[in-house]
């Protein structure tokens, strides 16, 4: 088994599997032949909805898959946050310690790439203007994501006013409180359009899918790109 694996989260596989491919392409460019972990979930949807034992059942499979690899790269900020901050706490005692050790092998895509020894060898170039959405759960990785985007020559990155405010997704929140969720989303999209950019990049595809759905409905001309897609398209 390769020492490094790429975790393609359930919702990425369902909504935009191409983002998993973009992430794999970037890792290949760094010289990493990675295994793919798919068909698993970190458990976050159930955990946030109030079903931790169901989250544990799902998360157990993900951690089990992690036993075979030294590093598992996660191209989704909120899945990474779940694995790091919440998943180990679903077990008690020795099992919790084991879960915490396994969770420690997971690393966010931006952090993994930015610290990779081969990064300096990559020629990243993409002419254009993009707005940057700082997703709440990607905040620990924000500096890394911004550094990576800063390495892309020709790319003008525009920051949003009030960028630390939530886009209103929140998993089941978007379904259970649709009115508030949509109002928050509209606020965020207004900040996005105000940048003048027509492409939005984020380290979190869940926010992007939500904003994408909103932009379509509101008739806003906007493409949503994951960080992995930006880097992948910036490769020669």
């Amino acid at each position: 088994m390769p020492p490094v694996a790429l975790f393609v989260p359930c919702y990425v596989a369902a909504l935009r599997p191409v983002d998993g491919e973009h992430a794999a392409r970037v890792l290949r460019a760094l010289g990493e032949e990675t295994a793919v972990i798919d068909g698993r979930c970190c458990g976050q949807p159930a955990f946030n909805a109030g079903y931790p034992s169901e989250a544990r059942t799902a998360g157990r499979e993900l951690l089990r898959a992690a036993t075979e690899h030294g590093t598992i790269v996660v191209p989704s900020g909120s899945c990474m946050a779940m694995v790091r901050d919440c998943l180990p706490g679903l077990w008690e005692g020795e099992r919790g310690a084991v879960a915490a050790r396994l969770a420690g092998r997971f690393q966010g895509f931006a952090s993994y790439v930015v610290n990779h020894a081969a990064l300096a060898r990559l020629e990243l170039r993409l002419e254009g203007v993009m707005a940057y959405h700082a997703s709440c759960h990607s905040r620990p990785e924000q500096a890394d994501a911004l550094r990576l985007l800063g390495l892309v020559r020709g790319l003008e990155l525009r920051r949003l006013a009030h960028e630390d405010e939530c886009c209103g997704f929140g998993g089941t929140f978007a379904i259970k409180q649709p009115e508030i969720s949509a109002a928050m989303m509209a606020t965020k999209l207004a900040d996005v359009t105000a940048t003048g950019a027509r492409v939005l990049v984020s380290a979190d595809l869940s926010c992007l899918a939500h904003l994408d759905a909103g932009a379509r409905g509101l008739g806003i001309d906007l493409e949503t790109w994951s960080l992995a897609e930006v880097l992948s398209r910036a490769l020669p």
Binding site: R16, E61, A161, H162, K176, E179, T187, T195, G196
Partner: protein, 582 residues
Amino acid sequence: MTSFRERAVREMEAEHPAATVTPIMRKLVADSAAMLARGPADARQRAAAARAHAIANLEALHAETRRTLDRRGIGYHRAADAAEAVATVQRLLGNARRVAKSKTMVGEEVGLTHALRAAGIDVLETDIGEYIVDLEGRGPSHITAPALHLRRDRIREILARSGADLPDDDPVRLSRHVRDAVGAFFRDCDAAITGANTVIASSGRIVVVENEGNVALGVSHPKLHIVITGLEKVVANEAAALAVLEVLASSATGQPLTAFTHFLAEPARGQERHIVFVDNGRSRVLADPAFRELLRCIRCGACMNACPVYRTAGGLSYGTPYMGPIGAVLAPLLWPQGSFGDLPGASTLCGRCREVCPVGIPLDRMLASLRHREAEQAGSWAEKTAWQAWAAAFSHPGAARAATALGRFGLAHFAGLLERRRPPGDPRRAPSLEPERDPTRLAGGPPIDTTTPPTEPLALPPPSGRAATVALFRERAAEAGVELPAKVKREDGDLRLKANAAIASTGSVLLTGEAAARRPLLAARRVVVEVREKSVVPYPSDLEPFLGKGDALILTGASRTADIEKQIVRGIHGAERLAVTM
């Protein structure tokens, strides 16, 4: 009872709270962060430690508090629930008929004003914001800024309905109108009821913070002063109280300290003082390891200031005296039989509440735990079954892959069906599954509004050396509107006092003993305080050796209010002018 969602939709349609609240809160959150960065780097850790210690030793601290209060002649009372709290206050009030009440969240929690009025007592809300929302009749929408949801024109209408003659809606005029009504009430009232921000076990002093001076009036004018507060509000000693104060006003309102920080000791001759500690479910929270640390809360409101759901739905949507993230956790715990089980769902779990909480309460984690509790107790069979099926699928990668593919197929083919089930007005469509990429979009357009990347305010190094400390004091005092004349010319209505110490980082002066007497202070037209340079300390937490044993009062600028659209109006009760001579 309606659901949170129903109330929020009604509020959003009728009032559009975000338009009023969001701009105010954005500024407030930035100001709070900047103000905290001016304090000691470890202020939040020390405040959290002080509160954690109090929670871990609550009964021991209460035993001590009872003794120290007794020594000062302050009555110690405990009420198990709301009814007992109201009954205790009523008994203590005796024959009092006119009662001036200042802000107390526990008072809101137990429905004190309403209950006392029902018993025929004339209760006046003396805080400007509370006075306004009391007339409006829908209750406070924020724990520190009760009238936050009301714009000035609405406030003018509300005051006009009660007979006020107001030519315009200038916040200065509106605030002074309420001040005058409150001031007139204080000239003839029997008792005052206030809250407490913290009660010091080792010394039996009660700490109350306020900006307007209505608490200063309440603790000094009527013969009877009753404090009503939560059981959890005790702290071990002065150092712990100062640690709380160091983060409280900055987190709440972006001020260094409030205009008045009272350390109340024994009542004046001929006066009576009592404190009622209200349990009302707190012991139950204390016994629950999952939520015990919630009792650290110092009611600053920082979590609601930062909460995007609170800003969008408005405080009244929560249907409880406690709103925002703290309300969404506290209300279902305090009233487990109530209908607040859906409040933990009023969050995207974005985590801003946890980040800004000055005492380190993991509010978002608690919200998730409460959703679990609610799902166990009241989750529908259909929802439980759905999540079990989901978990079953994700415990077999093959099944999960199939389920994911099925989900994708469903989204692609039944998106139209899903869209027809959307609530009306929801603009969202199904997200694009095969994103098209049009290179021309990368060209972008000219920016209308982008920002320079926000940076966290840098923590300032502590002032080093006497001269730097004094210079910082002068700078911060001037910022707070304090006059710093080289020589003071005597004026009519001057009150001259000597400060026992001063605080550089906040520009505050400390008055102790006789100098802290509120009556002359409130009657003066200008307060002139003499500060000795060698008594200036860097931070509030350095004040402990100067606090003395009795009554003390920290003044930070002149009395003021920001209860109307958060606009500052100076000179509410008491002198409009504060001058310092060195």
